[in-house]
Every structure is written in structure tokens, then in C-alpha cells.
Amino acid sequence: MPREEVMKWLRARFFPHIWCPGCGHGVIMHALLRSLTALDKKPEETVIASGIGCSSRMPGYINACTVHTTHGRSLGFATGIKLAKPELTVIDVMGDGDCTAIGGNHFIHACRRNIGITAIVMNNNIYGMTGGQASPTTPPGAKATTAPYGAIDPPFDICNLAAGAGATYVARATIAQPAMCEQYIKKGIQHKGFSVIEIVTHCHTQFGRKNKRSSPVDNLNFFKQASVAKAKADQMSPEELVGKIITGEFVNKDIPEYTEQYDKLIAKVRG
């Protein structure tokens, strides 16, 4: 990928960005921009939406049509944009808190509706922006400022949740695999319908410090060691899979996309 092409997508004037040194969100942004470049998308016709969180600061740095909305609600806004102008490429970038805590309902409904939006969930297992509170993906036993004695509730498996809600493309990678991130994001954007790419990342500042992974490199190493490709995971027992991050494509199916269905409905009504 020629580097200059990627740079065109940046609002370089706002750099360096606000993320902590080594925050995985930058790795993901980078992968997204490479995907958009590879797919030859036009920034004027590409919408990047987000909610609120460290992750959700991403659109501000991307020189496209960017929409930084309210916490958890970005898929609602993105749905309005996509339905009003189906010709736009719409990407929605969210944190684990944004997507699965406050935004959980919009997430499952976007999955159900199968609207042509690509959701990138940057799962760092914590609320980074607000200082390290537990999220719905914080692993049991892990510490967080609102779980000072360790989290006791089972976490969501975001890919399972998306699948249960009816999503038609669901994949997972970690930031230790930037090329895989890029590849799944590309496939998600090309997919007709709602696509979910969960990217497992870290917040060493808020999560890592309390849970023995305090540097970015610690986290990189952790991801390398804990990831298991789906094909391999399918051969493993539940016990063997404890603490593992399964990467790969979980769902990829073909169902009519919502805005296309809508256009057909209009055509039918207008006769």
C-alpha cells in the first residue's frame, strides 16, 4: 500500500492524536485506512461514525465525512445516514463500552436489520476514556475501578451476540495481527448487509496497569500467545479454550440488505 494514499485519509493537522502512547486504537485506525485505500473508496462518499470513548475519537482524525455522536448511539445515527443515502459507504467505529454496554440495543438491532453498515468494535475490555471502569467484556476476576475486587459477571462474547442477533458477517482479529484486521475490515465493507468486525485491543493505561499488562508490548505479546484461529479452536475443548481469543470469521451469509429492500418497497408502492 503506497503510504501517501493512506496519509490522504488523515486530518494531519490534528496530529499527534490524543491516544496514549501505544494505544491499540491507533493500530486499528491505521488498518481501517489501509482497507479504505485498498478498496479505493472516496472520502467524500465515506462516512465514519462513532459514539463516545477513546476509540470513538477516531473519526475526528479521518478526513472523510465523520460523525462523532453520543455514547452508544452511533448506529442510530449511522442508520439514518445510510437509509437516507444508501450510496454512501458507512463505517461505524465503536468501543466495547460504547457498542455493548450503552449501545447494545442499537447494535443488536443493526444486526437484525442487516443494514449495509460496517461496525468495527474496538474491544479493549474496559472503559478507557473515563478511566478504567469495567465493561461488559471485562473478563471475570479482572480489576477495574468499578470492580475493585474483581469483576464477577460473565462477559459478552461480542461475536456470539452479533450472531444471535442475526448479523450476516462476523469476524474477529487482534491488533497483534494488523494484516488480518485490514483483511476482515475489507471483507466487512464489501459485504452486503451489516458486518461486525471485533478487534481485540488493549488499554494498557486503564486495564493493563491493574491487570499485569501495563505496557503496550506486554499486550502485544499477550495477544500473540492467547489467540487461536477458529479452525484450530473448533478442535479444542471448552477447557482448553478458557482465556483464549478465537480469531477468524464466524458468520458470512447472504440475506437481502435493508436499504435495498427499502428501495424495492418504494418501487413497489410507486408502481
Partner: protein, 376 residues
Amino acid sequence: MPKIAFWQGNMGIAMGAIAAGCRFFGGYPITPSTEIAEAMAEELPRLGGKFIQMEDEIAGIAAAIGASIAGVKSMTATSGPGFSLKQENLGLAYMAEIPLVVVDVMRGGPSTGLPTKISQQDVMQARWGSHGDHGTIAYAPSSVQECYEITVEAFNMAERFRQPVLIMNDEVLGHMREKVIVPEDDSLVLVDRKRPTVSPDEFVPYRADEQDDIPPMAGMGDGYRWHVTGLTHNDWGFPTNNAAEIEKKMLRLMRKIDRFRDDIVKYDTESVKDADVLVLSYGSVARTALSAVRMARKKGIKVGHFRPVTLWPFPDKELETIASRVKTILVPELNCGQMVLEVERVVGKERVVRQNLVNGELFKPAEILSKIEEVA
């Protein structure tokens, strides 16, 4: 030729929206506003527009704002509980300056309250419901004809001032059917948001024109790239923590409405010239009050009526002028006293008499008449 229709108030709003160019509706059903959504679901696809029922009111207004960001005039409608839920995203539309029309068909509150009964309990919420300061434009129609016309005006104001505009309808007017003279489409004056005239490279999305304090707005997909955020931002739309930039943004948000307050404010009067008693009321109550005022006049009581059509901005100057000549101002409301606070602020609390009803019913003419007789 204008057409004659027999419509519910809610239908009047839906048809007004369509006439104003609304081509997107995002909402969630709730009594007594649902007919607006239902009418939009039926009408929009016929015009190539889009109706979407979202998973809740929060998503409903989010989708409507999204569509407006994409360049399509859009609307959402709800009632009390849903209006409360929409407050956060309403704030985003104020902050990001996104045109939008939001309808609240008022029922009895608080909470689930009285879904099928009238109140005027949300009029202060219209002004103060969302956290943080912003200018407010909110209308209270009194007839189905006005439901239609005010909706057109609401869209025009939303587009002109780049902000949400509220229509505070009530259950009685929302549900009652009445004659409407529907003007021909081309007789309507429609306003569209200002579009940028500069090239995409020169576009600074929140740089306001000096003559009106309003920044031109590009639709997404129109060739411009810009950033929308609910964070306080600078002219580039980029979040700022700089005191001067913050203040600039906030003051402009207020000023863009304050400056043109005279263009926005709307009110109606009847028999105020020689009045000793002034009845101030709005919405469906104004119909009862006018009935009572007319009965009282027949009895020789010098009473007039003042009807704010814009609740916000409140017609304060106008009221003050008229009120200066009257002895008593009677404010009947279907709440525990809300707009009356503004009346008291404007004319002083000494001469103001409240009349409040919170039993789910509309005032009957005899009730207001007897209060007029009491204070006259």
C-alpha cells in the same frame, strides 16, 4: 386550488411535514403521537422518502438527525416518556447544529401518567429538558389548520437556523378531526438550509456567516468532508478545550436565535384593546379560553385573549406592551403552572392569576368563564 380535508391534528402535522419537504421520519410509536408516524409510514415511500421505526425513541431521533446530516429534511414525533428519552440526542442536534423537527404530543405526566389524556405538562421541558444551554424554538398550535401550517414553518425555521425546532401539540388537538384548507404545494414558501458556496478544500464547516451567525451546511455525500461532534468544537468542528473557542461557539449558539427573535416570535390576540382582564393561553386550551372570552364579552366583561404561538421564544415584549394596559392576567393551563412562570417574570407576579387543571380533561368554557368573572 386549495383542497379541503378533514384531518386529525396529528395528520395535519404529518401532511405539513410532507409539504415542507420532509422526506425522512425516524421514530418509535407512543400514544398520542403515533398517528404521525403511521401517516409518515404510509406517505413517505410514495414520494421516495424513508420512514423507519427504530428500536426506541433514542434511536428514532438519532436516525432522524443522521438523515438530516445526510442532507434530507427529517422529523421525529413522540410524547412525554419518549420526549424525555430524546433529550440527550436533541442536545447533540443543538450542539452540532443539525436541522430537525421534533413533535411532542403532550399527554398527562409524570412518567407513563395518562397516555390517552391531555396535558400541557411538557412546555417547560421543551425549553429545559436537555442538559446544557441552547436557544429554543417551540410552537403550540391550536387548530388542525395550524398544525399543518406551523409544521411547514417549523421546518423552515429548522433549516434557517440549523437547529431542532419543537412542536408541542397536545392529545386533544392531536386526536381531534377538523377541517383543513390545504394550500397548493407551490403556494408554500419553503426554506432550505444554506449550502456552502466555497470549494470542498476551503470549507470550514462551522465558520458562520457574519450576517446571520449561521454556518452553511453540506450534506454528507455532496462532495464535502466535514466533522460532526457533540463535543464543544471550534470552527473546524474539532473538539476544543480552549476557553475562547468554547465561548465563541456557545455565544453564537444563543445569539443566532436571539438576534432573529422577532422573525420567530408568533402570537395572536383577540379583544385586547380595551381589556381589563387578559387571558393568556395556548394549544387546545386557547380554544376553550376563546370560547369563554367570547361568552364573557357578551356579558359585558372587558376581557381579551393573548395566545403565544411560539412558546419559545416567548412573546415577552409583545405581552408586556399589552399587559401594561390590563389589570389582571389569567393564565389557565393544563399543568401545575408552567408558562405562567414566564408570564410572571415578564409582567411581574402581582397581577397574574393562575388557573390549573391536572385531571386529564380539557378545561370547559364554563370553568374559564367563571374564573374570568371572579377576577374581573
